[in-house]
């Protein structure tokens, strides 16, 4: 009997971990770490960086210093389109402590930045030239940069720079822009329109119909750490004086969720070898899609070059709104046609989003609709309205967060029309395979998650009649909505494992922005190598480390997992090659062994065991180091791969003030194997809290006359505070996906999805007012 068979027979708890292999193949074997009962997997380990974070020892990008460093402040344009006629920098340059003012007239020459999703090296938000000419492309574009000896001096001088513009007509009104909307070339690399059957005709003929327009506003990430960096052009030792410039390395402490991609982009912008740029980002004070490459990093590096001194550039909170794009606004139509049993005959989800001609992220609001419900006829489409504005970008669950608001609100409206429980309506339309691409689901247990959540939440007590339950002035209602986010594993990941007698180090150019990456990956490496977590060091946030891993798309856990699986195999192959004839393991192949108790062991004969220390010592090696690329993400072509969940919400709506209070919130998730119960619960809750913000308060106000963001501050852009957030209950199926590393799915983004609709549906259930425009503020209920 093989070890695996023994495990399956249940008479032997798994203790060693065999090498993972072909989990991505249809007939492949699941990653052994996905099995139930794996020691350490799922354990609520406290964060490995906890002490640094609670003592102030964690150093963020704007907290590093270089000798001779100067501070930067930016001046932002006040028109949305046009030319700079003059910039008077005389007064600023004469002020105390001012070192230089950089404008398009004296900035170093730079190449255009490669744009995310438009270029293989693209980390940049848009492709506008950066302080290279007199053109202004959005209201808030940096037009001058002041360098001074202190931040106070730089800020004061920036106020004294006078700019005259020649404004030109600008498209800053979404209502006008959408009359000229166009279909984009693609949406996230896929088609902008998906048609199955004839949805319009089927809708017209359906017995029950809902047809409504839903609107969602612009949002900003508002990570509490404003974007900041400290950088220097560092001369390499021994370089010849006349060629010093060529020998310089650009050393950046950045707040980044894409260190390696940012290096690749900066190399193009500055026309230098990527090996000459080094970015580290050990701590990132929240990202949510916003901490990629924007003009401020490039301007800081250019300014440092101009004056030959290191530069600290910390954006003000207002500066973040001017320079770093957010989520764009959407206007979505959802039309549902169903028969008397609630089965969907037609599903239409179409609409228009604001974008610029210089980026390529049409907020992909139809992503969730692609996979959620079976319908005979489907039509999905996204158009873009070009505007003169800062390029929009990814923000937590781009597409799904706002798309599920529309879709799941419409489902609720249909359920009411049918006189059916909203959960039952969803269950009746549960698809057997992906409704738009026909692939089998790799792992879909949405109905189990919904049932378990409903039971714990007490969904059965939901009042059927809106406005029928109250406590004093409070009208009480419940709502639910489906949550979903895709599984992804992007190409480019690689990992280095270095083994010594003491333990192992795993190196990968990945990121920790609070998701728990460092902690969870330490647990995984420990389990895979059969070492205690104390003997694992997981290093990340450094562009010099192996691979290119984006902390985005909820894919980092899988991407790192895939790379470590590959490196683990390479490591074991090398270890076996080091064995002498005297080793008890002699003659075994990689698939004959398991890692356990700090060494290798035959998977069928526990007496054949040797520690890593013994293997290395016999071979006269102090350490063994391997670096390997992850296997291609073939699983994504074989299956439709998504996480699912159901959000349940109870609200109270005051019939005096129309104030809305979320009383209870529960998320029941199906996201594969959960790797750390403590950090996972925090990820889910954090996403759901951002979902409460989306539902009830968040809105970036964009002036349609000037194109200027009118509330660029945390005083005017409201995010949830303690008092807005109830105790949030989270639960999960913990059913591993057999086709992913660790059986896991990413969980960073699904939490925000579905929450907008769950809240709006609960508000409707409470007071009978259907709000189809986010945020659901009290004025919309009066």
């Amino acid at each position: 009997m093989s070890a695996l068979d023994k495990r399956r027979s249940g008479d032997n708890q798994p203790s060693g971990v065999a090498l993972a292999g072909d989990y991505w193949r249809p007939d492949g074997r699941p990653d052994p770490l996905s099995e139930k009962g794996r020691i350490g997997i799922g354990a609520p380990l406290s964060r490995v960086d906890g002490v640094e974070k609670v003592t102030g020892g964690a150093r963020f990008a704007g907290e590093f210093t270089f000798e001779g460093m100067v501070y930067a402040a930016l001046v932002y344009s006040t028109i949305a389109n046009g030319r700079i006629l003059t910039i008077d920098r005389q007064e600023a340059e004469s002020m105390n402590g001012v070192v230089r003012v950089m404008t398009h007239e004296n900035a170093p020459r730079l190449n255009l930045p490669p744009v995310f999703l438009m270029s293989p090296n693209g980390a940049a938000g848009d492709d506008h030239p950066i302080m290279q000419n007199d053109r202004v492309h959005w209201n808030g574009q940096p037009v001058a940069l002041v360098l001074a000896e202190t931040q106070e001096q730089a800020d004061a001088a920036a106020e004294r720079i006078h700019v005259d513009y020649q404004a030109e007509p600008a498209m800053t009104d979404f209502e006008l822009a959408k009359t000229q909307a166009r279909q984009p070339d693609n949406v996230l690399g896929g088609p902008a329109e998906i048609t199955i059957g004839d949805a319009d005709k089927a809708f017209e003929m359906a017995a029950h119909r809902v047809d409504a327009i839903y609107r969602t506003p612009r949002h900003n990430h508002n990570a509490i750490e404003p974007h900041a960096l400290t950088l220097a052009w560092v001369k390499e030792d021994g370089s010849e004086k006349e060629s010093e410039r060529d020998g310089e390395t650009l050393r950046i402490h950045d707040a980044s969720q894409c260190v390696d991609l940012a290096v690749a982009s900066l190399a193009e912008v500055f026309g230098i070898d990527a090996a000459r740029i080094h970015i580290t980002s050990p701590f990132v004070g929240g990202g949510f899609g916003g901490k990629t490459l924007w003009q401020h990093q490039i301007l800081a590096a250019a300014a440092a070059k101009l004056v030959g001194r290191p530069v600290r550039l910390a954006l003000s909170r207002k500066g973040v709104y001017r320079v770093v794009g957010g989520r764009t606004c959407t206007e979505q139509r959802v039309a549902l046609g169903a028969d008397a049993d609630g089965r969907l005959k037609a599903l239409i989800h179409s609409g228009v989003v604001a974008m610029t001609r210089h980026n390529n992220l049409p907020e992909p609001f139809f992503q969730a609709t692609k996979c959620l419900y079976a319908a005979d006829h489907i039509r999905l489409s996204i158009d873009v309205a070009d505007m003169h504005m800062l390029a929009n970008t990814f923000m937590r669950a781009p597409g799904e967060s706002v798309g599920t608001f529309a879709l799941e609100s419409a489902l609720d409206e249909l359920a009411e029309q049918l006189g059916m429980d909203p959960l039952e309506l969803r269950a009746r339309n549960e698809p057997e395979q992906d409704p738009t691409n026909g692939l089998a689901f790799s792992s879909r247990h949405l109905l189990e998650a919904a049932r378990a959540g409903a039971e714990r939440f007490g969904w059965a007590k939901r009042p059927i009649q809106p406005g029928s339950q109250r406590e004093d002035e409070w009208q009480i209602g419940m709502g639910c909505a489906t949550a979903t986010y895709p599984y992804m594993r992007m190409p480019g990941a690689a990992a280095r494992i270095t083994l010594t007698g003491e333990g192992a180090t795993v190196d990968i150019a990945a990121h920790e922005m609070g998701m728990g990456t460092a902690t969870v990956q330490t647990q995984i490496a420990a389990a895979r190598l059969g070492l205690p977590v104390e003997r694992i060091q997981f290093r990340y946030g450094d562009s010099k480390l192996a691979g290119r891993v984006l902390a985005g798309g909820s894919q980092q856990t899988a991407a790192i997992g895939g790379a470590v699986i590959a490196a683990h195999r390479a490591l074991v192959i090398e270890l076996l090659a080091l064995l002498g004839e005297n080793s008890p393991l002699a003659g075994l192949t990689p698939d004959d062994v398991e890692c356990r108790d700090g060494g290798l062991c035959s998977s069928v004969d526990a007496s054949r065991f040797e520690t890593y220390e013994q293997i290395l010592a016999r071979a006269g090696r102090r350490e063994l180091s391997v670096e390997t690329d992850a296997a291609d993400s073939a699983e994504l072509a074989n299956w439709s791969m998504h996480s699912f969940g159901t959000i349940f919400c109870e609200v109270g709506v005051s019939d005096v003030t129309a104030e809305i209070r979320v009383r209870r919130l529960l998320g029941s998730f199906d996201c594969g194997r959960i790797l750390n119960a403590k950090t996972a619960a925090s990820q889910f809750r954090g996403g759901m809290i951002m979902g409460l913000g989306l539902a009830l308060m968040e809105e970036t106000l964009f002036d349609p006359r000037s194109g200027r963001v009118m509330n660029p501050s945390l005083a005017d852009y409201h995010v949830p505070v303690q008092m807005d957030v109830p105790e949030i209950d989270v639960m999960w199926t913990d059913i591993p996906d057999p086709h992913t590393p660790m059986g896991a799915h990413g969980i960073g983004e699904i939490g925000i999805t579905g929450v907008g609709a769950a809240v709006a549906n609960a508000v409707y259930n409470a007071c009978g007012k259907r709000v189809r425009e986010l945020p659901v503020t009290l004025d919309k209920l009066l």
């Binding site: 406290s46 974070k53 003592t55 929240g286 303690q722």
Partner: protein, 169 residues
């Protein structure tokens, strides 16, 4: 000019416009205190002055000479975390860690307010001599400290656990 920070006298000559926040971060490299908005909206810069919590970004450094300033770096001893710090780790009261120093200073200052029986907006009986803390009291009193990662439940759990064990008192 001189200040007493975490029990030590520190001296520097600074621009009169310098905020207490910038003094800590730029002059004394006490970068544990964070800048999130520089306008008193987020609470990331919360420090304790004679035990009371304030937003260091709204305080001019020159005004705080002669006062006792405690930052996150001053909460732990050489060998032990402050009980609230330990509880934040245990209850996952943070994710990215950026708002955390402000949350911690705010929590410690807030516990002092409870000890002094100072009422809050949710205190039922404003004239009561003793304030009974509950989770709503904690949430109300911690609402000046934003956490965008959404660690609010963990923060409340951590503070509640600290109060329940009474080791902080």
């Amino acid at each position: 000019m001189q200040w007493t920070i975490n029990g030590q006298v520190r001296k520097a000559e600074v621009d009169f416009r310098t905020s207490l926040l910038d003094l800590l971060r730029e002059q004394f490299q006490l970068s544990g205190t964070k800048e999130g908005c520089n306008q008193g909206a987020c609470g990331a810069c919360t420090v304790l002055v004679d035990g009371d919590r304030i937003n260091a970004c709204l305080a001019l450094a020159v005004q705080y000479q002669g006062r006792s300033i405690t930052t996150v770096e001053g909460l732990a001893t050489d060998t032990h975390l402050h009980p609230v710090q330990a509880a934040f780790i245990e209850h996952d009261g943070f994710q990215c860690g950026y708002c955390t120093p402000g949350q911690l200073c705010s929590a410690v200052g807030m516990i002092g307010e409870l000890e002094r029986d100072q009422p809050s907006a949710v205190t039922a009986d404003l004239s009561a001599n003793e304030i009974e803390w509950n989770r709503d009291e904690l949430r109300e009193r911690m609402s000046g400290n934003l956490c965008r990662c959404g660690a609010y439940n963990g923060i409340t759990d951590a503070i509640a656990a600290s109060l329940a064990t009474e080791v902080v008192r």
